[in-house]
């Protein structure tokens, strides 16, 4: 179980055999930035050659890559697949199909299911489901505490042996510093990483959105930024003390980015490993969007101010935030169709992650395309998953995208079982044509109108 590839599971399928010709390849890791022919044989990248230099071997397909970009596939370390127990929101098949449609070649699922993934039999059951139904390699984090209750540690060593990539109580913080310290000590023993949802429940209180001018105007209880940043500072200090590996989830506040900066300065001299996520919604939206009380914009942590959003963008650029993660959190229509205070927190995001960040940050020139591709494909590293790269001899993990294609989010439905997307109705640039995950074709755009990402006329 030391090979982290054995901690990801998917349904078996035929290996891809195809030539993507004359495509613009951008791979920040291999350093390729130009037009190439990419030959995939038996699911492996067989050759990366100058454009228009290769012929498709007999029996394999040729995909015309002109006008398209080929990137290393995206890796999402933060997905709620809702299985077991809440399959009315999402299941392994629909969730991984949505992921593939968004260009993801690998995802990591959260354990806050019903029941939670906090014991070996439950972990084995979801792994069996993933082996039967997952369209792309899917790994699992197990709970840090039994029942996500914040009181007793799960059998972390046994869960790790059974295939857990790491541990998290995501959805909730580990409030007890003493308990978290024990978990960090166990993390060092068993490997993986602890993914931490950071907020102080006392400061968050009954908050439903960011505390600020908008919540004051709407009469909604606020979640202050310091609720997140104080816990990040606390847990970074604990992780350093224990020389453990921690991954801070969905960082949302400027104060949190500051706390990460402080932690990073001290981290260099110790064995601690610190990584952190930014979500597409915190990178592109603010609490002003809540003015209309649309429950699709209610998530935890909440959308914050423009200054926070800019701090998250800056943190992603500087590398304090090491990856982009969606926190894809599907909820059924009847759950979101309630007053904002009652509706559950969360937005879907797998199908829109690239397009949202590309449209809102790359096209306007705020972030480079290479940086966004790197951050979108870096999410597995904290958990020991090598990032995808496009070079001969490695399994094909890549995504073909038409950057000039434009689509309206949700206009043709979603691959996810749920429709609670905070970008619903927006016109975004960037249409995924083809996703190859672990050597298998996981998603392919079809020309007919049934495809949710159908390209509009330009």
């Amino acid at each position: 179980m030391n090979d982290s590839r054995l901690r990801q599971f998917q349904a078996a399928g035929p290996p891809a055999d195809l030539l993507i010709s004359s495509v613009y390849v951008l791979d920040p890791r291999s350093g390729i930035d130009g037009a190439r022919d990419v030959l995939i044989r038996g699911g492996m990248v067989a050759e990366v050659a100058p454009a228009d230099s290769l012929e498709a071997p007999a029996g394999s397909e040729r995909v015309d890559g002109r006008g398209r970009h080929l990137f290393p596939g995206f890796v999402d370390p933060h997905v709620h697949l809702r299985s077991p127990g809440q399959e009315y929101k999402e299941d392994v098949r629909t969730g991984t199909t949505a992921a593939a449609a968004g260009g993801f070649v690998s995802i990591i699922a959260m354990p806050n299911t019903a029941p939670p993934i906090d014991s070996v039999p439950i972990l084995e059951a979801v792994i069996a489901t993933a082996r039967a139904e997952a369209r792309i390699p899917t790994g699992f984090l197990a709970a840090i505490t039994v029942g996500l209750g914040g009181r007793e540690l799960t059998e972390m060593a046994a869960l790790r042996d059974a295939g857990a990539l790491g541990f998290t109580d995501d959805g909730k913080p580990v409030t007890s510093a003493g308990l978290l310290r024990r978990a960090l000590q166990y993390q060092r023993l068993v490997g993986g990483a602890l993914a931490l949802h950071e907020e102080d429940p006392e400061l968050s209180g009954a908050g439903v959105m960011h505390e600020g001018a908008v919540s004051a105007r709407l009469g909604l209880a606020g979640i202050p930024s310091v609720s997140e940043s104080t816990f990040i500072a606390r847990d970074a200090a604990l992780a350093r003390y224990e020389e453990a590996a921690v991954h801070f989830q969905h960082v949302s506040a400027a104060e949190s980015v500051e706390a990460l900066g402080d932690a990073r300065i001290r981290a260099d001299t110790s064995g601690v490993r610190i990584s952190a996520e930014a979500t597409p919604h915190h990178l592109t939206l603010t609490d002003e969007a809540l003015t209309g009380l649309d429950t699709r914009l209610k998530m935890n942590p909440p959308l914050r101010t423009e200054a926070d959003r800019q701090a998250i963008v800056d943190g992603l650029r500087s590398g304090l935030l090491t990856c982009i993660a969606t926190d894809h959190a599907p909820h059924a229509r009847h759950e979101k169709e309630q007053p904002l205070e009652q509706a559950p927190m969360g937005t879907t995001g797998l199908e829109t992650a690239f397009a949202a960040v590309f449209s809102e940050l790359v096209r306007p020139g705020v972030l480079s395309l290479a940086l966004v591709v790197e951050r979108l494909s870096a999410g597995g590293e904290p958990f020991g998953l090598a990032p995808p790269t496009i070079q001969p001899g490695v399994p094909a993990n890549l995504v073909l995208i038409n950057l000039e294609g434009r689509w309206v989010v949700g206009a043709h439905g979603y691959r996810s079982r749920s429709a609670n997307c905070c970008f619903d109705g927006r016109r975004l640039w960037g249409v995924v044509d083809l996703t190859i995950a672990a050597g298998q074709v996981a998603f392919r755009a079809t020309a007919d109108g049934g495809h949710p990402h159908r390209q509009e006329d330009r």
């Binding site: 505390e211 919540s215 105007r217 709407l218 909604l220 007053p339 904002l340």
Partner: protein
């Protein structure tokens, strides 16, 4: 006449002209309330549903009376004892009630945005009778009505809203209404009960009553026992010492308002409540006429429905 108004969800939907139009009509309905037979036939044959998810005495009774004085058929539903209690969702309840083809649904809910949601699910006009800590637009209207009756235009007047602004939908609607009418608004209270960021509405915010003499009108908010339990204030006694509006804090000529119900001896001293500076009784009296005017505005006053009638 400006935009036809279909719903009253926020006082912000109205603007100064809309507020004035409704209050002018309320004045003529106040005259009806002085008659022996207090009814006009404006809503004969139409149904008004009052859907109250929170207990309320004056708001629900005055909406009921307002609808009846306009000759509407009235159905009043309270959360306790109804299917609401049995876990029926708001949407299902509204769809069930919509089968009766109501002309208006008046809704009071403990949740922000409930009235806006209902407006998206029904053909009826929706009146927000209070949605969580968000808004209470008809309270703001009756408060402006009461003040106009007593002191005329609010342009340039200084109004202080004192107390638990954080938990007050009345404060939020009244800030917008008073500002729309040209008044200057100051919020005063313990720092724990002044929401962070509220100054971005263009109000002054202070934790002190030192400059209270600046106020032409002191609008006092209700202070509830449970704020003490949640540590927003140490004790009601200390709150009263620092923030109670009593004769010692008022200068001659200032007027005092309160949305009710009052905790005597906490936010207001008993002698102020019963004195000539208090407009509390007039506020209650204005409730029926103003709510008649709101229902009239939505159900009769709009060209869309006038054309059908």
């Amino acid at each position: 006449m400006s935009q036809p108004l279909r719903h009253l969800l926020s006082i912000g939907d109205l603007g100064r002209a809309g507020i004035e139009r409704i209050l002018d009509r309320a004045l003529s309905f106040a005259e009806v309330s002085g008659r022996e037979i207090k009814k006009v036939p404006a809503l004969r044959g139409r149904t008004v549903v009052n859907l109250f998810y929170e207990s309320s005495t004056r708001t629900s009774s005055s909406f009921e009376l307002a609808a009846k004085r306009l000759s509407a058929d009235v159905v009043s539903i309270r959360a306790s004892g109804s299917s609401v209690d049995k876990g029926e969702s708001l949407r299902d309840t509204v769809e069930t009630l919509s089968a009766y083809d109501p002309a208006a649904i008046v809704i009071r809910s403990p949740h922000v945005g409930a009235a806006s949601l209902v407006a998206g699910w029904t053909e009826a006009s929706v009146v927000n009778a209070g949605d969580g800590k968000h808004e209470h637009p008809t309270q703001a209207l009756l408060d402006v009505f009461t003040l106009r009756q007593r002191i005329g235009p609010l342009e340039g007047r200084s109004i202080w809203i004192v107390g638990d602004v954080l938990h007050s939908r009345v404060a939020r609607s009244n800030i917008l209404a008073f500002q729309a009418m040209g008044a200057r608004v100051t919020l005063a209270g313990p720092p724990t009960l002044l929401p962070r960021g509220i100054e971005q509405l263009g109000v002054e915010v202070t934790p002190q009553l030192d400059a209270l003499a600046d106020a032409d009108v002191v609008y006092v908010l209700r202070m509830q026992q449970e704020r003490m339990e949640a540590a927003y204030i140490p004790t009601l006694r200390e709150y009263a010492q620092r923030y109670q509006i009593n004769p010692g804090r008022l200068r001659p000529g200032q007027l005092v308002m309160h949305p009710g119900p009052v905790n005597r001896g906490v936010e207001l001293s008993a002698d102020v409540i019963d004195s000539a500076v208090s407009l509390i009784g007039e506020q209650v009296k204005a409730g029926v006429a103003v709510r008649m005017a709101v229902l009239y505005e939505l159900l009769v006053g709009s060209p869309r429905l006038a054309a059908v009638a």
